[in-house]
Symmetry: C2
Subunit: 165 residues, 2 copies
């Protein structure tokens, strides 16, 4: 059975216990988290419960324009006032350079992409967190309004380690 | 105490039960989910367990260039072959037009943004899901390689409802 059909069965089952009164669109901790899509990063692993925070996730946990758009919506429309940026050890984007990634995928796809893709490959996870902090802290819709801190999630131990910007 | 400090305490506590052998960077269901950052959307609400899927999340669950980058990494580097696009009812992006959002935030911030922000506001959630499906299905690094289906998560009931592209 396709994965999606199994998800739909589980959703139907779990929805029995879903009560809209238990959840609010406004994050309980007034917190937004920008992190990687990686399977090892989850609410319980980070120390969060359902409803605590907005979760913004992409490959790497990068402060792209899209992540900034989401953080602006989170702060101005839904009242968050702290941001955690979380990258992690053993990230897929650390395993090849930008051009190696591009070459590998273009070769496997057998064609160039419709539009250029920038993968945001990186080699040093601490330096990468600092780069995301710099991007967020220099956005004039965020800089002086939201507290922004950076972390590495160590997939070996499940622990968050702070990286100062 | 700042929210982030409370998260760090909870993370330290939860990491006692974290075992790296329980988790893999490759999603167990070979599934990637693109959805909204909204607090009401969680793994259990959708019908997922930790490790099942890549979670790509932004304001709205929009197939931006950044989301496409993440889905490409997910498929080519980490073996996913199905994508669920999930928007939801009562989304903050449905409550104002693009220009109303821009005006409201610029007024509150007291300054224009460093660079133009496109919020991806929408009015009709089914039509919005179909638009994201079209974007993904027309990307030539995804179109003929990955099964892509679209859904609305009904925050009133916790149920997923399929939207055909």
């Amino acid at each position: 059975m396709p994965a999606i059909n199994r998800v739909l069965e589980a959703n139907l089952h779990n929805s029995i216990n879903y009560d809209p009164k238990d959840v609010s669109p406004r994050p309980r901790m007034q917190l937004a988290v920008l992190t990687c899509m990686d399977t090892r990063i989850s609410l319980p692993a980070l120390g969060l419960k359902v409803g605590d925070a907005h979760m913004i996730r992409n490959a790497g946990g990068i402060a792209t324009d899209d992540a900034i758009r989401s953080l602006v919506v989170s702060h101005y429309l839904l009242g968050t006032n702290e941001i955690m940026v979380i990258n992690h050890t053993d990230c897929g984007l650390m395993k090849a350079s930008e051009s190696e990634l591009h070459h590998k995928i273009e070769q496997e796809a057998g064609k160039a992409p419709n539009a250029a893709v920038h993968f945001h490959a990186f080699q040093d996870v601490d330096a990468n967190v600092r780069q995301q902090l710099r991007r967020l802290k220099s956005h004039n819709w965020l800089e002086d309004r939201v507290k922004i801190r950076g972390f590495v999630f160590e997939v070996e131990t499940g622990r968050l380690r702070e990286v100062h910007g």
